[in-house]
Assembly symmetry: C2
Homo-oligomer: 340 residues x 2
Amino acid sequence: MRLKDLAQHLGLSQTTVSRALNGYPEVNEATRLRVAETAARLGYRPNASALRLATGRAGAIGMVLRASTEFGPHSSEFLGGVGERLAAEEIDILVSTVETYQDEIAAYRRFAASQRVDAVILQSPKLNDQRAELLMDLGLPFVLHGRTNAARPLAWLDIDNTGAIERATSHLLDLGHRRIALLNGMKGQTFAEHRELGYLAALSARGVSFDPALMGNSTFTDEVAFRLAQAMLELRPRPTAFLAGSMMTALGVFRAIRQAGLTLGQEVSMIAHDDVFPYLNADNMYPTMSTTRSSIRTAGVRIAELILQILSGKPVEDIHELWPVELVLRQSSGPVMAEK
Amino acid sequence: MRLKDLAQHLGLSQTTVSRALNGYPEVNEATRLRVAETAARLGYRPNASALRLATGRAGAIGMVLRASTEFGPHSSEFLGGVGERLAAEEIDILVSTVETYQDEIAAYRRFAASQRVDAVILQSPKLNDQRAELLMDLGLPFVLHGRTNAARPLAWLDIDNTGAIERATSHLLDLGHRRIALLNGMKGQTFAEHRELGYLAALSARGVSFDPALMGNSTFTDEVAFRLAQAMLELRPRPTAFLAGSMMTALGVFRAIRQAGLTLGQEVSMIAHDDVFPYLNADNMYPTMSTTRSSIRTAGVRIAELILQILSGKPVEDIHELWPVELVLRQSSGPVMAEK
DNA sequence: CAAAAATTTGAAATCGCTTTGAATGATCCC
DNA sequence: GGGATCATTCAAAGCGATTTCAAATTTTTG
């Protein structure tokens, strides 16, 4: 069922049918109704490739996912949010999976040269992210999920990692904790650097000295977190509180705490960062988990919205959003206890 | 940089340039080299929409993900596998996220009518899956990840869920367990039904009667599993072994076991199904987890391959693959202990 | 009631590529 | 040497939509 067929069926020209369907004003209302009705009845939908060629818009946005690091629950949730918003506009999400950094660069070049996508979403930036520079050079519009240092203005949305960790750390300090471990992301990642900043700021505000042995930089997996936490719990004096970078991390720390014969919420406190996964609920853990919380899905929805704004001409220098992070206190964090 | 520009630059016709780049035989070797070199130097890539319109191929395959149920680690890993194989062929993955079943049906209709994708991958089938029927009606090629009952032949790849659970159950029975709990997926899902079959077959082969209280049907989340397992552990006599449907489930069960003051691998055994996630390793758990194992990523790679075969004309009735599942015994499963 | 303006429709160009069918030269063979 | 063959190249016709520009019809106006 092509436009031509539909037009023939209606005894109209392609022009008129096209206009009727796309809401142009210069078409008789009766005709429009007839066209719309017939199109719906016959299940007509414009051929995507033809439409894109004619309009010059690709009707898709791209996301490049690095299989080794970026996959996992975070991406899924985020993708869900993006899709939710974009579905309404009939814009597709094109997912490209790559293994290496070089592949990722190549993927963006392909996107740009073949005009496969109208814009991309860039995730997990480093402090000085070359990918952002590349995209600007390529003239491929994008929204950055996170922040990076760049000479030129770019659109970004980020959560206030510094503020979140600073508050969480301060809260633990208020509860009397002095040996607070930070399980952070990899060095160089913007969010990790920001969290470290918040952590150090809170410590120094109370005159608590920083102990490098209490800071770990790793990926956010259950297993790595378990090992780091286990090692830290063997220190003497041992840490009395943990700041876990993600809920996965929290699960690992939790296991290490139990393994050491300690009780979470008693001898050891923990505050974890919660990106809000439907299948990993801080409220349903035992003990319930204190968290710094910000929905990654909601961020996805919003970023999709920002992309749409860029595509309709809004200047990128006007697009910066820094989202506050909630601190939700539950059972896993409590006052420091005297060591037995 | 369009084909036209490139041709002009080379002093050739579009025809010749196009043929040179696409490897047609009727072009002088010297010319081909010159064209290839210039194209590479100028970074020419055909416009995706134009190419698709001209060839009639969409150059993309579709996946519809139900946000509520299908997201999460499984999809991510699977997607990684699919992408890995498809990237080599310059075929994109188009991800559409939906909330409801109705949306999902609509998404497939859109795919078909707008010819946005050449084929789709269908996941998480039910015993009688209407989506498969729809896709066949629409004439949209697809590979089913799993199995379903259908009148017409269709391409599928599935793992041997029945065999896997049957072996795992038998093994536990061999170890003396008689009260074996099964935490299964939702009723109606093919894989869950298959697993139930394997479970019942193993029980009845030893003349062990089936206790409905020991079977749970739910989604595979940490939290739901925790609750189910907690409730089961309050039964008297309580289950001495668990079959966990996924690694997420296993984590929940694990927590419930600890919560009940029991030790996994001692008073209680567990065998979990492992889809092989890089960030959740059965070997690195404490105790290490016995599993039925089959890589969902590898399945993704293979399904992508099967799609390519279908697109190049292989009849779907020749495409059926049933993959065996490994049983990997580790510390979490052991002989039954006398109840204290 | 004729001329002007507004409304509604359509023919054809366009987007950037592939591919058909024809044309050009070079090479071969008798 | 001239007709047939082969190797290269190109002009132009699609692919299925949108959009420009012109034409036809209706309505308004003086």
